[in-house]
Symmetry: C2
Subunit: 318 residues, 2 copies
């Protein structure tokens, strides 16, 4: 079975670990969000791609869900001693090596997709990980700070400001001109099923869908497209997805996210058992819906979620 | 007193520490060798500038004479895990931060001299450290490897090959087109004395002198120019200067190095007491010569060497 997954960071990576456990023989292609990418200290950092790669490759810091295990912070503290920031972005020494290799390869002329392939040669994530685009797309968030409206990089909003102010708008800068990376459209066209993990529907899955051609390819693939709600009981399972949803005028509920994707894209939707009452509303929107436990508390629970998503895919296929 | 010192790495840096101790009120400008500079992992590494900066700023690894104290090697081991080399160049995590800051500033358009100034803002070396040139100069060494003649970067010859094969030629590639960095010629013109520390006469001091205008400015400054022999008893005090001298056809002796600089450049020359018998030969070449202990065993001994150099400078001035 060929499965295509649109993944953001932590939520997407953990779901993928469950999916691999549930379907060890599947051929999984992950289309990774690069709207979170940021240049720090002259280095190209791709947080979502790295979170997927480290998580599936066994190098992730399990407690925090991002960054490397057994990490140290000598480089960062030295940079601070030079007065070079930002200090709010926590790059560790092991992590720095990834960004150094990536930046060197990009500087040598390789596209991000080829660089990602090369990094995965080491990590062997057991999936094919492709950035959504080799072109630069950068998610900006419009906020009001000290009475002035400004646009900040998504990482500045998320990490520095910790989403403490309202997001007035979310713009994937550069998306309109971006092309899907080599292999993205081909993987979608060849897929037996497309999954949206419980990733942020605006700045993760939404950003991937903003690259012209990707949404259309998924809608036209003629295969089941099934998503898992990142919202449980009206609150995001993790992260601050509610802030992002508010910015695009979507209420923070499992049903509203399904309606936001829409029946033109989504065939099936899993909500948590806590949101069983919302199944009817989702189905009224033309999307098949089931309520199952959606907390990724451990690998078994996550694998069970993946099985439920694949079962729903088979259900909508027939 | 305004003192200009032409410095390579370890020998120059340690001498400078003694000079500062001997003349705490002097205004010292160091013209640093950049022929050893190398791009590693996409980062600009300036070994000699950093050795001077770390040594005078209190951040040096005292035992090895280069690199940072309390160093760790997480980045390097991760790069190796990615299969990205070279592995023979020992960059530590703390050291990496310096190269990251430097590379970022160079990428932003600052010349190396301005970047060096900025790095020294942190280290406060107590001297003005100027790279010999903002232009790229790269010392290459011609060698015969496996029957074939090739040119290798100086660091590859020095660090990877450990000078284990003969150097057939030493070429400061790019020197002919290089201009002295801002402040270099002005510092020489304003100097009361110019010192050549016991640095490598070919690949350290020699490379600095290969930048058009620097040798002439020193010769024309009309102030005492005094050097200290890096060769004691026909062998280099440290490093492999004899290999470099052989490449330019100079015998490995204190007297031969003085003759190599020549009386057109050098007014005074200090040899070690072990080479007392050679004083006459140096003086016959028109260079005032004294034999004093030249082993930089500790700060006091090194300060004493600096005092002897300054005393010889006063002697040749009159």
């Amino acid at each position: 079975m060929r499965i295509v997954v649109l993944a953001g960071g932590i939520g997407g990576a953990r779901f993928l670990r469950g999916l691999k456990a549930a379907t060890p023989d599947a051929d999984i292609t992950v289309i990774g969000n690069t709207g979170d990418d940021i240049h720090l200290f002259g280095l190209k950092v791709c947080p979502d791609l790295d979170t997927v790669m480290y998580t599936l490759g066994g190098g992730i810091n399990e407690d925090q869900g991002w960054g490397r295990s057994d990490e140290t912070f000598q480089v960062k503290s030295e940079l601070a001693a030079y007065g070079v920031g930002p200090e709010w972005f926590g790059l560790g020494d092991r992590d720095f090596a990834t960004h150094i290799v990536r930046t060197q390869m990009l500087g040598a002329g390789y596209p991000l997709s080829a660089v990602t392939d090369a990094l995965c040669d080491r990590w062997q994530p057991g999936v094919r990980l492709i950035p959504m685009s080799d072109d630069r797309v950068e998610t900006h968030v419009a906020v009001e700070l000290e009475g002035e409206r400004r646009a900040v990089h998504f990482q500045e909003y998320w990490v520095r400001l910790r989403a403490s102010v309202d997001a007035l708008a979310v713009v994937p800068v550069g998306a309109e001109q971006a092309k899907p990376a080599p292999g993205v459209l081909e993987a979608i066209a060849a897929a037996d099923v497309v999954l949206f993990p419980p990733s942020n529907p605006v700045v993760s899955v939404g950003t991937i869908l903003s690259v012209p051609g990707i949404r259309e390819a998924i809608a036209d693939a003629g295969v089941p497209v099934v998503g898992l709600s990142p919202i449980v009981g009206d609150a995001p399972v993790r992260g601050m997805a509610d802030k992002m949803l508010a910015a695009v005028g979507v209420e923070s509920s499992a049903a509203a996210v399904a309606e936001h994707y829409g029946s033109g894209l989504l065939d099936g939707w899993l909500v948590d058992t806590a949101d069983g009452a919302t199944v009817e509303r989702v189905e009224a929107a033309g999307i098949r819906c089931r309520a199952v436990p959606l907390m990724m508390t451990d690998l078994d629970a996550t694998a069970e979620m993946a099985r439920a998503a694949l079962a729903l895919a088979e259900e909508v296929r027939t």
